[in-house]
């Protein structure tokens, strides 16, 4: 017995953290999975086992598929441009020491603003008649857009706003990554006559691999969980055109009071996220385990 305790004595260091992980991350997942097989809503206030009913309902619901499509668009369209621009800007700032703090802060400050505050600001910016965006569009002779009020543009308006909000954070991570690349490499390439683009294509991009992986993972998490701006700016509308998965869960759970459907959606989302973890570990597993050892 004593030996067993001795063997596990180091668990004291991680136990507090593990308990909180259990209570607020892993147990909830189990609970949601359990609830996803139950009917529990306004008209059925006691949870009742119904098998796959909630999932079948979702599969036959057009809104569910629209929400999945919107989520996919939101995730892919916001991740890749943000990453690309963040990297390019980081490289440019890294090379220009003059005014560096000014550039960093003017691009980074949106990260510091609460998303709720940014949402308020952008509702005003997108306001069809008083907003700066439409005023500027009118000034240069372009037609005014409906932005948040039109199902063609609402999702894109949210993507643009989220791009503005996240760009600085990723740029800063890239900037940190660039500090680890020796400047001598560029010098050598320069002497070999490589131009700006070629230097970065051959040296910077490959060496920023680990940073890019990190940015990629962070970006996925940040975009999968978008909620604040949608709740405050569009409530998923018009016509569910800007409804994404986390908002849809909220809507079903707290607005329609259908905990069964909301739990089924939660289970699906967690499943997708875990599959993504597996894929990332599968592709980059060697790298990550290498780092871990």
């Amino acid at each position: 017995m004593k030996r067993l305790i001795f063997k596990f004595r180091y668990y004291l260091f991680i136990l507090p953290g593990l308990i909180f992980l259990g209570v607020f991350t892993y147990y909830p997942i189990i609970w949601a999975t359990d609830l996803s097989f139950k009917r529990w809503n306004l008209l059925c206030p006691k949870p009742k086992f119904v098998g796959l009913e909630n999932y079948i309902k979702l599969i036959h619901n057009d809104v569910f598929w629209l929400v999945l499509k919107n989520t996919a668009i939101f995730v892919t369209v916001s991740i890749f441009p943000t990453m690309f621009f963040a990297m390019v800007l980081a490289i440019l700032i890294d090379e220009r020491m003059k005014g560096r703090v000014y550039y960093i802060y003017s691009i980074f400050y949106p990260t510091l603003i609460p998303m709720a505050a940014a949402a308020m600001l952008w509702v005003y910016i997108y306001s069809p008649n008083l907003g700066i965006l439409n005023i500027l569009l009118a000034k240069i002779g372009l037609p005014k857009l409906g932005w948040l009020g039109s199902s063609k543009t609402s999702l894109w308006a949210l993507i643009i706003m989220t791009f503005w909000k996240n760009l600085g954070f990723f740029m800063l991570i890239y900037l940190a990554g660039l500090q680890n690349i020796s400047k001598d490499l560029y010098e050598a390439a320069y002497l070999d006559g490589a131009g700006w683009w070629k230097r970065h294509y051959k040296i910077t991009f490959p060496l920023l691999g680990p940073t890019t992986l990190f940015v990629f993972i962070t970006a996925i998490i940040l975009t999968f969980r978008v909620f604040d701006q949608i709740n405050l700016m569009t409530e998923g509308g018009p016509g569910n055109s800007s409804n994404v998965i986390v908002y849809y869960i909220f809507e079903n759970g707290f607005k329609f009071i259908d905990m069964g459907i909301a739990s089924a959606l939660t289970t699906i989302l967690v499943g997708v996220l875990l599959i993504l973890v597996l894929i990332i570990f599968g592709i980059f597993g060697k790298r990550i385990t290498y780092e871990m050892e």
């Binding site: 507090p16 953290g17 991350t25 550039y103 308020m120 998490i221 759970g253």
Partner: protein, 275 residues
């Protein structure tokens, strides 16, 4: 390496344009926050208000208890950070420098949590908060965030890089685990700890979803929730007050970062965030 003239010009021009576009919304925010409602309704683009309406700020303070919201936000952010550090540092130490059975598996549990944000599992978490009596309490705003997989991962990476010779030296001096953590690891990992702390503060200052779900009374509400209540009402939005309130919510955190500007950028760039 010599840059050609046009290269320099092109680079600073690009950066200036990007900076300008990024700052513009904020300028627009400050300017509207200081305008009178009448001026907002003229559709002419003016950045400088004709008359500075400083009275917008007392007006929002009267409209809602923003002082309480501010206090709550500070308490919640500080509480999350304090408990996070207490939990994360020993865990990171164990994962970095100790050996015990099940280490790999438990570490994976911490890492996977990074991919499972609270937002995704909001429904069961709400039910748990309800069961534990955490609704409408500040402690309820704090607890779900205190176990940070991200922080554990970051600090572990940093702790690993500290040479074993230092540990041996400390051992010879008779230092136990906690003395070693306190006197050697923490001072040497300062940049990472500062970076993590500032990111934690910024993240939780911005929390909206969780407080929205579990708070309903003013005495525990945070700034972002107070602000969210401003937006939609039957009578339409009052843009000047809305922007004044938005500015009020943003300012503390921006000021904090401006004060710590050098430390933050230096810490961030030296510690970085390593993948």
């Amino acid at each position: 390496m010599k840059e050609r003239k046009y290269e320099i010009l092109l680079k600073s021009l690009t950066l200036h344009i990007v900076s300008f576009i990024m700052i513009l919304p904020f300028v627009w925010l400050v300017s509207t926050a200081l305008k009178s409602p009448e001026e907002v309704f003229t559709q002419h683009l003016t950045l400088l208000p004709k008359k500075f309406m400083w009275s917008n700020f007392p007006a929002i303070m009267k409209a809602a208890p923003f002082d309480i919201y501010l206090l709550n936000t500070v308490i919640v952010c500080a509480g999350i950070l304090a408990i996070q550090l207490i939990l994360v540092i020993p865990a990171a130490y164990a994962f970095a420098r100790l050996n015990f059975p099940g280490k790999g598996f438990t570490f994976i549990l911490f890492v996977i949590q990074i991919m499972l944000p609270l937002e995704a599992i909001i429904i069961p978490n709400y039910l748990i908060a309800k069961a534990l009596g955490l609704l409408n309490t500040r402690i309820g705003l704090i607890l779900p965030f205190v176990a940070s997989g991200f922080g554990t991962f970051q600090l572990r990476q940093t702790f690993k890089q500290i040479p074993a010779s230092l540990e041996d030296a400390a051992r010879i001096d008779g230092a136990g685990h906690f003395r070693f953590i306190w006197y050697v690891l923490i001072p040497l990992s300062k940049p990472t700890i500062i970076t993590f702390s500032l990111i934690s503060i910024a993240t939780h200052w911005n929390d909206y979803f969780w407080p929205l779900i579990i708070t309903e009374v003013d005495r525990v509400r945070t700034l972002t929730i107070g602000l969210g209540m401003f937006l939609q009402q039957e009578s339409g939005s009052d843009w000047t007050l809305l922007m004044a309130a938005t500015l009020y919510v943003c300012l503390p955190i921006i000021v904090l970062f401006l004060i710590l500007q050098r430390t933050f950028i230096k810490s961030f760039l030296t510690s970085g965030i390593k993948g």
